[in-house]
């Protein structure tokens, strides 16, 4: 058993491609996703629709435009022009001040600023609206001190084209999930299929090794390496991108370990039905990767899917894992809130291990 695990490590460390996939890819992916999402916003084109044109609205407008984040593209005079302005494709946001803004602010608060943002790019949209709100809030504090309790300006944000604004801090949970799935499942299935392809499985079968021994021996190195990977991704996410980290780290790591074992058992299951590396790889791609990306809620919100796909998404382990990571990392929830998802993952793990041991052929075909 010890020899088997050692051998497996040697296979991994001696193969440059395997090492690249194992360690190069996660870093590259996280950096890619990370930088794609934390793009600083400079000189975003906006339009202003000022129904009030009083000193306060002008002051706020001035503040916005002098911040460096926004650049005035157009002054609108009527709400009907908003749609047209967006369709030209240049502007990202329209700031609308209601009539009698300054008056309302003092006599009948709150006065309303409406932000209409092109959310076809949800990340940018979110950033723009956050910046606008921050700048306006700044202005308020400067002018009126911090004594007031009542908000005198109410900002209503409308996310045009993607009202739900999903996928903001999704990139880390999603990337962890995909990478762990890819590495764990694909690498093990390929490594077992390779033994079949090269004929070494024939020799292993003739040895007194039990199927469980072979499987566990295959899995352990990848559990360790995948776990290290998960750590790398988390550290990158926290340090480079300042990913919020609310919940318990121990719980998160335990859950990651569970998901890794789950993915590995899926990989083994795939390898029991494929006879060479290509088949194993294609199966991993189509059975694991694509559904993981498409149906887990990583990219497309599950709530927006047609009902059959929503039901189908329930058998995607990644869906549950993404929920778990999000709950722990973003909401800081404990096990009490995610025991159901955890149980589902444990169930899936047991199912695949059982199936693999059962389907593992003690003979050749």
């Amino acid at each position: 058993m010890k020899g088997f695990i050692l051998k497996e490590f040697l296979h991994i460390f001696r193969d440059l491609r395997t090492m690249l996939i194992l360690f190069g890819m996660p870093v590259a992916q996280v950096l890619l996703f990370g930088y794609a999402i934390t793009n600083e916003i400079n000189n975003a084109q906006i339009a202003i629709l000022d129904h009030s044109k009083d000193p306060v609205t002008q002051e706020i407008t001035y503040k916005l435009l002098s911040s460096g984040y926004f650049q005035l593209n157009d002054q609108l005079s009527d709400a009907s022009e908003i749609e047209q302005a967006f369709k030209k494709g240049k502007i990202k946001q329209v700031v609308v001040f209601e009539p009698n803004f300054a008056q309302k602010m003092t006599k009948d608060p709150p006065a309303v600023i409406q932000l209409i943002t092109d959310a076809s790019d949800p990340n940018t949209a979110n950033l723009l609206s956050n910046y606008t709100q921050a700048i306006t809030g700044d202005y308020l504090r400067q002018t009126s001190g911090s004594k007031r309790n009542l908000p005198v300006i109410n900002i209503e944000t409308t996310m045009q084209y993607n009202p739900e604004l999903r996928g903001v801090f999704m990139f880390v949970p999603g990337t962890i999930t995909i990478l762990l799935m890819l590495i764990s499942a694909m690498m093990t299935s390929i490594s077992i299929a390779r033994e079949k392809e090269l004929g070494t499985m024939e020799v292993l079968l003739v040895s007194p090794l039990k199927p469980l021994h072979i499987i566990v021996g295959k899995v352990i190195p990848y559990v360790i390496l995948s776990f290290i990977n998960a750590l790398i991704i988390l550290i990158l996410a926290a340090t480079v991108f300042g990913m919020p980290f609310q919940g318990s780290l121990v719980l998160l790591l335990l859950q990651s370990a569970l998901f890794i074992v789950m993915a590995l058992s899926m990989g083994i299951f795939i390898s029991t039905v494929s006879n060479n590396q290509q088949t194993a790889m294609l199966l991993s791609m189509f059975v694991l990767m694509l559904p993981t990306i498409l149906l887990s809620g990583f990219i497309f919100p599950i709530e927006n899917m047609p009902l059959p796909l929503q039901i189908l998404s329930n058998i995607m382990p990644s869906k549950w894992f993404i929920i778990i990571i999000k709950s722990i990392m973003l909401k800081g929830l404990g096990i009490a809130y995610i025991w159901k998802e955890t149980l589902i993952l444990i169930g899936m793990t047991l199912f695949f291990i059982g199936m693999s041991v059962k389907k593992f052929k003690i003979r050749l075909d």
Binding site: F4, K7, D15, L198, G199, E202, V203, L205, V206, P208
Partner: protein, 306 residues
């Protein structure tokens, strides 16, 4: 039943609609060096895989050391060493790592059974830090044999161990097998090379999934009851065709740079043969009686079965 190391009775195996083995019956004694001789596609690999409990027979009884390959495969797998026809070691691991791994898999160590493999392994030990994939063909075979031997098996199954290996390495390999035999291991070898038959204690001639004959190699040669001639003329190309049309021919086939001619039983056709060949326009006819080899016996057997 304890008397035999390997007992095969009425074994059948077919894949879909291709018959791979039929009616195989053979007993192999403990300590025997037994050869399965036959051309590619005769069913040797299938037979060895069944013996190694890797595939299931359709019909018939196969027992190794009294253990049935179907029910008692676990016991069998602990007691056999199996070397598949294809090189089946880890090419990215070094010589020593491979050996250590296979020792570990069987719950033993290199040191424990070093004496058994010393003869063979010492030849490749200077290269023990080289990846197995970078060894020459002969060295690969030695390593594979070492790996199959490291757990001190009672029966060694070697499926075409000398295929694709140069003549010198082949000879060395057989020499090693002879030495191994002395330690009491039963060795089953398959080979397409007829000349290797004489190195076995007993051989089974196998063709198209059937055993044609089981005997000691000398017996097989002694049983060759036809006259055999090596023939050469100035026109070698049409010679085979012309011989096949001759009325006393049992069979004729190329053999090295001559054509071997087997006459029908008890005939001495030399005179008639010469006049036949001259009639066909051959000159410089050389006809020499030849001592039969296993290959001649094999071809004759094959011929008689058809």
């Amino acid at each position: 039943m304890k008397g035999f190391a390997v007992q095969i009775e009425g074994l059948h195996k077919s894949y879909k609609n291709v018959v791979a083995l039929q009616n195989i019956t053979v007993d192999i004694k403990p300590g025997e060096l037994f050869g399965f001789i036959g051309p590619d596609g005769a069913g040797k690999t299938t037979l060895f895989r069944i013996l190694a409990s890797l595939i299931l027979p359709d019909k018939g009884k196969v027992e190794l050391m009294g253990y049935n390959v179907v029910q008692h495969y676990k016991e069998i797998r602990q007691r056999i060493g199996y070397m598949p026809g294809r090189f089946s070691l880890y090419q990215d691991l070094t010589v020593e790592e491979n050996l250590r791994f296979f020792a570990g898999v069987h719950g033993t160590t290199i040191e424990q059974n070093y004496a058994l493999i010393k003869d063979i392994y010492s030849q490749i030990e200077p290269f023990k830090n080289r990846p197995a994939g970078k060894l020459s063909g002969g060295m690969k075979q030695k390593l594979a044999l070492s790996c199959a031997l490291i757990h001190k098996p009672e029966i060694l199954l070697l499926d075409e161990p000398t295929t694709g290996v140069d003549a010198v390495s082949r000879q060395e390999f057989w020499h090693m097998l002879q030495n191994l035999k002395k330690s009491g291991i039963t060795i089953l070898v398959s080979t397409p090379y007829m000349d290797e038959a004489s190195l076995c204690d007993r051989v089974a001639l196998i063709q198209k999934g059937e055993i044609m004959k089981v005997a000691e190699p000398e017996v097989i040669i002694n049983d060759f009851d036809h006259s055999l001639f090596g023939i050469r003329t100035n026109k070698m190309f049409p010679l085979l065709h012309d011989l096949n049309e001759f009325k006393l021919t049992t069979t004729a086939y190329r053999f090295g740079d001559t054509i071997h001619f087997v006459s029908s039983k008890d005939a001495n056709p030399k005179k008639e043969l010469i006049s036949w060949l001259e009639l066909k326009g051959h000159q410089n006819i050389v006809i020499q009686p030849v001592a039969p080899t296993i290959e001649d016996c094999f071809i004759l057997q094959m011929n008689q079965q058809n």
